[in-house]
């Protein structure tokens, strides 16, 4: 029988607060981190808002670290890892380092420092001016590598890059590694920071970003609302410490929740458009629940992928209705992206943190900006208020460009 896997530590860097307490307080209060972009001149862009993470300084977490050796997404990831390890009470010096692994997600890699190297080279034509750190910082696995180096963990070290679902896949794979006996403890999650001139322009050109709320940034990310017109980029990192149940029990530590199911599928349909009937999303959720051995009626919370796009939100709701039928309306549904923006490779990890905290605290954060319910997405329990609920099982959906889907299933540990 494969090992049971539990969450014992949480670390987060987000636009509405870093550290699980500040973040959770903000999420429950219905705060939104979206503002007008300040990190570069946004005046010529169609979309002008994003959820940037203010006042982040790596030296607050690692006083001796050289910031020019890590791009911002890796700095976020490293800081979140430190918080998660502290939260879990894990003493890494007493562990066999080969039994602790890292599995992180990143969609874009090191763009904040990397992108100017590309644009400057095109501009100047001087290859000698390309920074020697460019390659080590731009690679998506620089975060997982830096985590291993800084914490001396020598088990599996994997980075998964599946766009917006990267960190849901990373957590799922980390769960599998523990189940398969490849590690006792995994540092799992994702980090992203790519609110940069060229990446932002690319998303603008794809017409995926909200443009109607440039003058009202906090109202731009509105999952399932009739006026939604695209997503808003965010940045941050989420990291979980997950371990086998027996390992956690031996350590006598707090357990947030158990991760009981994971499925990863491809829609094999379109690079950026979800398959419209919803059957592919149904399949992913179905496989994850089968893996979890959780009956449909035990699911009482779904943290939806919900990117607030006109096309994506109704398909996900259609899929939930198809799968859960009459039970669908008893499930509380929200979208954390409305709080922190779409953090791409960190989105699944931040949503997983929300699932863990919701299960642990019995509180589900409001689905903010749901002012005018779109009939195509309407569900009884998408609410703009905090819901108190003793959650049995929670489901997390994360879908990514490249036609790929991930679903994770969490259960209250008793």
């Amino acid at each position: 029988m494969s090992k049971r896997v539990v969450i014992t530590g949480i670390g987060i860097v987000s636009p509405v607060g870093s550290g699980k307490d500040d973040f959770w307080k903000a999420a429950l209060a219905g705060k939104c981190g979206v503002r007008r972009i300040t990190s570069f001149d946004i005046s010529n862009y169609r979309s002008q808002v994003a959820a940037e993470t203010p006042n982040f300084d790596l030296h607050d977490y690692f006083p001796d670290q050289k910031p020019n050796r890590l791009d911002r997404f890796a700095q976020f990831s490293l800081a979140a890892t430190k918080m998660a390890i502290e939260d879990s009470g894990l003493n890494l010096t007493s562990k066999d380092p080969y039994q602790v692994g890292v599995c992180m997600g990143s969609g874009m890699g090191g763009m904040v420092m990397g992108e100017p190297q590309l644009t400057d080279l095109i501009h100047t034509g001087l290859p000698g001016k390309v920074n020697p750190n460019f390659i080590p910082i731009v690679t998506p696995n620089s975060a997982s590598g830096q985590i291993a180096i800084n914490f001396n963990v020598k088990g599996p070290n994997i980075t998964i890059s599946t766009a917006c679902s990267s960190s849901a896949h990373a957590i799922g794979h980390a769960v599998d590694l523990i189940r398969w006996g490849k590690a006792e403890v995994m540092i799992a999650g994702g980090g992203e920071s790519c609110i940069t001139p060229a990446v932002f322009a690319g998303f603008c050109s794809l017409r995926t970003l909200s443009t109607h709320f440039n003058d009202r940034p906090e109202r731009a990310f509105r999952p399932f609302d009739r006026q939604r017109d695209g997503f808003v980029m965010g940045e941050g990192a989420g990291v979980l410490i997950i371990e086998s149940l027996e390992h956690a029990l031996k350590r006598k530590v707090q357990i947030y929740a158990e991760i009981v199911g994971y499925a990863s599928t491809s829609e094999a349909s379109h690079m950026v458009i979800p398959e419209q009937s919803g059957k592919e999303m149904v399949k992913t959720m179905e496989l994850a629940l089968a893996d979890a051995k959780v009956p449909l009626e035990d699911v009482d919370y779904i943290n939806a992928h919900a990117t607030s796009t006109p096309i994506g939100d109704p398909v996900e709701i259609k899929a939930i209705k198809l799968l859960f039928r009459h039970h669908a309306h008893k499930i509380v549904i929200n979208a954390t992206k409305a709080v922190v923006g779409h953090t791409i490779g960190a989105a699944g990890a931040i949503a997983a943190i929300v699932c863990a905290l919701s299960i642990k605290t019995g509180l589900i954060h409001p689905n903010i900006n749901y002012e005018d319910p779109d009939p195509a997405c309407a569900m009884d329990l998408i609410l703009q208020k905090v819901v108190e609920k003793k959650i049995k099982a929670a489901l997390l959906n994360s879908f990514g460009f490249g036609s790929n889907n991930a679903t994770l299933v969490f259960r209250r540990y008793e």
Binding site: D64, K66, N68, G128, K129, N131, P132, N133, P136
Partner: protein, 84 residues
């Protein structure tokens, strides 16, 4: 002509930027690798900054000759004079 002391100051400043060493602790005969702890990546970063600062090109073979601070200073003096 750029003064030797000015070159020294610039190199110390570049070094202290990515080493955990106070500029005042960097002596002329300080061994870059053994005493100051420069690894090969630090050396490459230093060379990158020197090329940028002094507008020179440093070959891979020349980098191998950098053992102490003074080696670097003398090299830069020579190169900047050649470039005049």
């Amino acid at each position: 002509m750029i003064q030797k002391s000015e070159i020294e100051t610039k190199i110390k400043s570049a070094l202290s930027g990515f080493l955990k060493v106070e500029p005042s602790k960097i002596k002329g005969n300080s061994l870059l690798r053994e005493e100051l702890g420069l690894d090969s990546m630090d050396t490459i970063e230093l060379v990158f900054e020197l090329e940028d600062n002094f507008n020179i090109q440093i070959s891979d073979d020349d980098i191998m000759g950098f053992k102490t601070m003074d080696d670097v200073v003398e090299y830069i003096v020579k190169m900047t004079n050649e470039n005049k």
